[in-house]
Symmetry: C3
């Protein structure tokens, strides 16, 4: 019965990295102070776990019919990022939580989409994709960016009207975002689903797992990811210092790449196969989900799990980057066509941000 799981592991070299899962726990026991080593090991362990989680979610979704399946994908699609962020939340590392939220939005809209356009464009002269889908996700992202912009802008413009105001506002915004996300799913999965064409998410050719196996994997792997994430969160700060990277850089770029590696692979291979709708759906869908679902859920959960309530007030530079990323993607996906240079443009914007974060003196953010 566990054949499909074993077969998946045998076929995909990415899953061989699962061997690092026990290594992380052993390392944590034997050398709890070797932060840089533990950081690297936990990164290597999370990548294949995220791939397993993603495949399990899609298998459950494939078995449960389109509407329930769409709902599942739309809520559990970024489960790894959510679990990592929860570990950071419990540890009270709110800067890391926020950097990883902002980073996921920026990385998905600029890096994943840009690399998909570039890789696809190097093989195919001009590629087309479903405009309606791209515009819907871009509009959701635009709304979320406005919501994340307001607390920071008010704090800037009016010289800090006080933390109580920011906290009340964040709570209200979190509720609005989750409600909008819910209505957006109703719109795209139910009332106007035919506008969005073939939003197939699962890699064609791979058979879905049986429901029992998929559910079991989902539950089991989530627990393992949670445990590894704790090691990751504990070690990330000191590892960043050791590598000469700022915490903003690590949160922004490393966390997203680690949690989303498997999905990025699907986006890139979709673009090479001229199935750009798949790539655009993964890139913008992930970004929108993190902005409108993961981020507000983290705010709400911070009341229960965190040492103190978390606000939606971001560091101004992060707000600016999210705003530029959203505006860029809105303008770029407007026409529904792409060529390699469009990918270059998106990647250049990403490089500008990455370079700025890398060069920024560590004490700033």
């Amino acid at each position: 019965m566990p054949n499909p799981l074993l077969r998946a592991i045998r076929r995909s070299p990415l899953l061989w990295l699962l061997v690092f899962v026990p290594v992380v726990f052993a390392g944590k026991k034997l050398a709890p102070g070797a932060h840089t080593l533990l950081f690297l090991l936990s990164v290597l362990a999370i990548v294949p776990l995220a791939a397993l989680l993603s495949h399990a979610t899609e298998s459950v979704a494939a078995k449960t019919g389109d509407s329930v399946g769409g709902l599942l994908n739309a809520t559990l699609g970024n489960l790894t990022e959510l679990v990592i962020a929860l570990a950071a939340l419990r540890a009270g590392q709110y800067t890391l939580v926020k950097a990883s939220v902002a980073g996921a939005i920026v990385t998905n809209t600029l890096f994943v989409l840009g690399a998909s356009f570039l890789l696809g464009g190097l093989k195919h002269r001009v590629q087309e994709f479903n405009r309606a889908g791209a515009r819907f996700q871009a509009a959701l992202l635009f709304l979320a960016t406005i919501a994340l912009l307001v607390p920071s802008a008010i704090a800037e413009a009016d010289r800090a009207p006080g933390a109580a105001f920011t906290q009340k506002l964040s709570l209200g915004l979190a509720v609005l975002l989750v409600v909008t996300y819910g209505l957006g799913m109703l719109f795209s999965l139910k009332t106007h689903r035919e506008l969005f064409g073939s939003a197939e998410h699962a890699e064609a050719g791979e058979a879905p797992w049986p429901l029992g196996l998929a559910l079991g994997t989902l539950a089991g792997v989530t627990v393992v990811v949670a445990l590894v994430s704790e090691v990751f969160v504990e070690s990330v700060h000191e590892a960043a210092v050791a590598f000469g990277m700022t915490p903003a850089f690590v949160g922004f770029i490393v966390v997203t790449l680690v949690g989303g590696a498997a999905e990025m692979g699907s986006a890139f291979s979709g673009a090479r196969k001229n199935r750009l709708d798949l790539s655009v759906g993964i890139a913008l869908g992930s970004a929108a989900q993190i902005a409108l679902f993961v981020a507000p859920v983290l705010v709400l959960l911070s009341y229960v799990m965190g040492p103190a309530p978390m606000s939606l007030e971001f560091w101004p530079g992060a707000v600016l980057m999210m705003l530029i990323a959203t505006l860029t993607v809105t303008l770029v996906t407007n026409g529904g066509r792409s060529a390699w240079f469009v990918g270059v443009l998106l990647l250049m914007v990403y490089l500008i941000f990455a370079m700025t974060l890398y060069l920024l003196p560590p004490q700033v953010p």
Copy 2:
């Protein structure tokens, strides 16, 4: 002869509120210190007066031919808002004047347009509207937002180069805006009018009044609105405190809703009847008119009527909201199509702003 007026009053339950007009004046005489009561009474009195003014303007416009009528609608379409703002101007309440200008722009573009899209979309699957008209109004709004942004941005960026500079700049900007508005009317009503299709503004089915009655109503009701507005302006501040609302919230949201209630009704019923051009025309037309005509006229009149010249420098938060509203509406109306979720998105942006203003500590703006 006064039959059509009486008939209009008998038919429309909204106009029954006219009974509050004498009540306001009586209240003002008997209890000049009951600010909260006077505030509520004046709100109830202005709503039907605004509806009468709007119907009278349209009747005059219908009688005078398309070009003159268009001109009349384009200059007197927001007469109520202008009269209320003039009362505030005379009283030197420049914060209220500016909040009501910014609020009218934000409320019309986000709330009126969003609710029209939502109400229309709940009845009709996908609705289409004239892109040329929407883009024209959005472009006018975009220009006005830039003009309103510059004085605040310069003041922010360069640490206040002095009030004299801001005042000279505001005067120049006011002249530029009025000139642009005039050229825009020339373009849309004269040289390229066929691009804008059926920009019918009057509610179909309602016969226009005879010219004499319409002109008489226009003159008489304007005077009454001016008198009631004075009570409104005097009482608004203390009423806001009594209701626990900030003055920014009142200016931004209450003034617009009060002055535009009748027009909003037309916009919503147009959307339900699948005549979305009417709704878009009312929402964006009102916003553009207030930004490019009412606001600069108020600046120019402040030299004659106000205790001191009024500038176009807005509170940074207001500028940000106008900017976001304009950008949102530009992106949303670009395609010329709408469904219910587009309305939800616009309303959510409006809710974000309303919530922020409501929660803001009173001393800030």
Copy 3:
């Protein structure tokens, strides 16, 4: 053999201004302190020299085949602006250099494009142009604006993380911009050239010069422009004070008009002849070239030629103007159609900026 040069001079009244070239050098010798006079003379001398340079560049381009010719036009098309900026760079006047870069972007996108739309629209009811070309240039500009925005935004948001950070970041951004510009040329001149249609740059009807004459003119005139630019740069500051203009105004507006007068003439006459692709190509092409090629080359050359390395950190007002100009032009060129009022809108935005800069107290920028 020098017939074509003499013929060009005889035909074009603009070139009669060449008589001011010796006058400038004489004036510099005889009255080195007459700054206002020298400023005016150098302006009158640069205008015809820029026209000669522009014609020589196009003649070389016409002789060398499409790809090399396109490359030449794309790198030497703003040679005059580059030479003037180099003179300012050597003199250490970095504020003037930056103002002229920002001014070239704003003036080309708003004034040249706006006046072309207006002049063309007064003769032709609705004009069409190649959307792909306009969107490509607008996208390049958008990227450049982001790159120029980041150093200023970080400096604002995080209270100056230090000049060393800004300098390292500027160097990295300069390299990214030049690389993007190179890839953009590869895209538009080589891999996807057929998307961009007839991007003919030379005025039809004028025969190109023989190669020897063109190369000789290119070399000789560049040297003369360099010499006159030195007089210009030395005198500009005191002349600005004498005219009651701020240095920001002079750098922003005068330098661009002087260096680009000849090209503007081509853009305007193209619009009148209903060849709007030519006008859009000149306006947006120049702006993109200055933003992605001239500006970063100046940063790189400042390490060799300037008294100290120059950064890409602009005065916040300049960044805002570049951002608004780029956004405006992106929205306006999106549809690929134009009428006279579109030109009015662009010119109004330009007027708003010009008025603000003119009124700004001199000490500010």
